[in-house]
Amino acid sequence: MMTDAQKLRELLSGIYGGRSGEIRISPAWLATEAMASLDPTHATPALIYRAAHMQFRQLVRSLCRQGFEEDGECSEQHAVFPGLQARYPAAHSQDAEPEYVQFEHLTDRDVEFNVNRLRSEGRAKQAHADKLEAWDRDRVWKRTEAA
């Protein structure tokens, strides 16, 4: 028997699947579609509706971030750089809700936006790891010096 979480995922996967051929997908719009099918009369209290909508948007984003579907075997680019996503967020301002664009249809600006975004996230983690390791190296060094 399916759990509630599985049912929700299935609902969203179905909506996403129906639109998977579209070049641009808006997680907010898909979340609204899912909410409309769950709560057609809009009977849910506003705050709960908002929380559920946010969670749905998050789930759609995770579907968008998935790697290539099996068709990947058809794509030479994918063969050289495995691990690229089938969709990336389109370039957008910080407060705007991004649409996810199919990999093949990314503009130069979209690519630059995503490269900068990923690099900035990666740089922050790399710096964090380096700091922690340098601190540890220093600690061991001082301990050895003292001995």
């Binding site: 699947g17 051929g21 058809c74």
Partner: protein, 200 residues
């Protein structure tokens, strides 16, 4: 016959009867979503069923797209599925987010003889497009170390390290860090030197 099997037969019949790219592309997209979902759920039987329907849909799409491809630039007074001819090959690809590579693969799938296709679907192992049409020319994936080296060399430019004073940075390190740098720099310089001998 259980409900799933009836649904499977219905889907196969719908694909057979369809003559419209939109219709089959819709079936294919939905089936792919189900296939991925069933894989997540580790329901291998349902995943395989969905995979078979997807392959049938892709084969049909290959046939329809091949027909569209052939009708481009041909006389239009013949009755070669007027609904198909209203849109160009490129229109269909753009409308459904189909890449040229996918269209090519599906057309190859459409060229496989019926008996060969059906026997691939009936085989005990899960069918795959490459299993049916044969693997495409293999392209080696990028070596992650090559990608890393390229990315880090580009970092020297991005972080403007090439215009910074190395000794100034070195002096800002802890003793332990400096010891690592002293040990590694000669090795790295020697290793990178190899690249400067590369000429083309």
């Amino acid at each position: 016959m259980d409900a799933q099997l009836i649904r499977y037969d219905e889907m196969c019949r719908a694909i057979d009867a369809a003559y419209d790219v939109d219709e089959v592309a819709d079936i294919r997209d939905k089936t792919l979503a189900i296939e991925l979902y069933m894989r997540q759920q580790r329901n291998t039987e349902a995943e395989r069923r969905a995979c078979e329907i997807r392959l049938r849909a892709e084969r049909k799409l290959g046939k329809l797209l091949r027909d569209v491809d052939r009708t481009q630039g041909q006389r239009t007074d013949r009755e070669i599925s007027s609904r198909i001819a209203t849109k160009s090959f490129r229109d269909h690809l753009e409308e459904h987010g189909i890449s040229k590579d996918q269209a090519y693969c599906w057309q190859q799938l459409a060229a496989v003889p019926d008996a060969q296709f059906e026997s691939a679907l009936a085989a005990p192992e899960k069918p795959s497009r490459s299993g049916i049409i044969g693997p495409r020319l293999k392209v080696d994936p990028m070596d992650p170390r090559a990608l890393w080296l390229w990315g880090r060399l580009r970092d020297f430019e991005r972080e403007e390290l090439l215009s910074a004073e190395p000794m100034e940075l070195f002096e800002k390190m802890t003793e332990a860090m400096q010891a690592d740098v002293r040990r590694l720099v000669p090795l790295v310089v020697g290793w990178l030197e190899e690249l400067t001998h590369h000429d083309d």
